[in-house]
Subunit: 312 residues, 2 copies
Amino acid sequence: MDEFELIARLTQQMPANPAVIVGPGDDCAVLDFGLPQHWILFKTDAVVEGIHYDDRAAPEQIGHKALGRCLSDIAAMAGEPTSALVTVGLPRDYRPERVEAIYRGLNRLADQHRMAVVGGETTTSPERTFFSVAVIGKVKKEHCVLRSGARPGDAIFVTGELGGSLAGKHLSFAPRLAEARWLAEHFPLRGMIDLSDGLASDLRHVLRCGGVGAELLSDAIPISRAAKARYRDHLSPKRPLEAALTDGEDFELLFCAPAGDAVAVLDAWKVAFPRVRLSCIGKISAEPGIRLRDRRGQETLGAHGYIHFAQP
Amino acid sequence: MDEFELIARLTQQMPANPAVIVGPGDDCAVLDFGLPQHWILFKTDAVVEGIHYDDRAAPEQIGHKALGRCLSDIAAMAGEPTSALVTVGLPRDYRPERVEAIYRGLNRLADQHRMAVVGGETTTSPERTFFSVAVIGKVKKEHCVLRSGARPGDAIFVTGELGGSLAGKHLSFAPRLAEARWLAEHFPLRGMIDLSDGLASDLRHVLRCGGVGAELLSDAIPISRAAKARYRDHLSPKRPLEAALTDGEDFELLFCAPAGDAVAVLDAWKVAFPRVRLSCIGKISAEPGIRLRDRRGQETLGAHGYIHFAQP
């Protein structure tokens, strides 16, 4: 049983209550606590030593990543993070200075977003350290963007550049919080998700939630310099386009908007965020699946984003 | 550096913001989201295989404990839990049926308290499973009870019976949610905490927060049958009174109230919760430290609850 099958089985049984606006299956849970204009966002995530980071990571980067992963999910709802709790599992021979440095990185990112870190727990984890972070945020009800809602004809956008995150970005990425809020305030977004498993995989969540498919334009997909360099330097066997489609941990945003707004989105973005790329990479279709188009034709993307046709 | 020193160093650096009513150092964080009558409570905790449970535990009990630990902290603020997220770390060879059964126990406890389980994350934890639970709740502002506020002369109470939790209660305890809310609605409580590290250790947090000390009456401390049986059967070297003072994971409540209310608290409790014991175990004093009194005299409790004087 793979992770997605397990999650599907677990989430079927979970109890709900009237406060739940969005339960399992979106980037964050959305809760109604009776605030007139806002919903509460609730998210947890964990990083495990040797899985999400290794000895090459500076401790400050580990803390940055531990919190940043949750903030990327808050961004994917167009929300604003308010506070975090950190549960840390430590081997008995942990080095206090290293733990403090990890928290320093986490605190710095929290501070950048005017978040509070309001405590947590320490526990024993004999073999390896883990950090489990929980974040509460809020979102204006009319600006909350779900994974669902993408409609045939919608333009599909991604922020930043994709692929090759392992070269370093996975430890230092900037969660797209301000960008997402700005987008949601100015345009009718829908079908938004943060790219943690890879473009092809995460886009599939949006498509499934909307009961739709997608046509992507190969040339429009923003390939990172890191993805190109890793292929060129034989650090990764993936061709750059495949890396951009399938590498995880980009922590960029993917979202959809009506086709009629596409040019306005791109133009206004350039003024608002001149240093962050925004790309329209294709459109939503009624036909299920993801099709990738280039000059030579069209190919359906395999389940894991694998590209079947030969690349130059 | 022990756990408490590490926590003290980590919590000094944590960023705050205006939403924080209570940050690190109480049973839950308390946040102001602008609700007219309520504050938001926020808590995380984790259970790690081989540390908090082992193979003897039924999987449903593991889930019960993972959530119950957080609920006990929500109870310690006189709050009401609303929703939970669960992050689970799993070895690659995990058994899906066992994970599902663990969630079943967690979901059942959530359902008993009309909580929603609104998702979470799965991640890889190669050597051992862990469950990190985050809970959001709420509390009426006028009923929120902190660890601080205990005053000399206050009566000290504990719910239930203490010690010997390892015999089974640590996996099946009932978080004192209804009891705490009832208490806070009817009496001016202060200095409340849930007993997770052991009476002596947890009482010290209340005393430190209040800048006070305590005098306990040996005969008034409610010793569990399990604590007596474990000593009698040579399963624990601790005499029953010492077990009640120092064993962890009782998940009962300790709280203080004005001495003048003590009899009323005990009388009203018997009517409201006839099946749960409530004991007045002593009083708050101006002099720091914990003194334990019995017929033969008085002894100061050591830092870890160790009783220096010879027992019969």
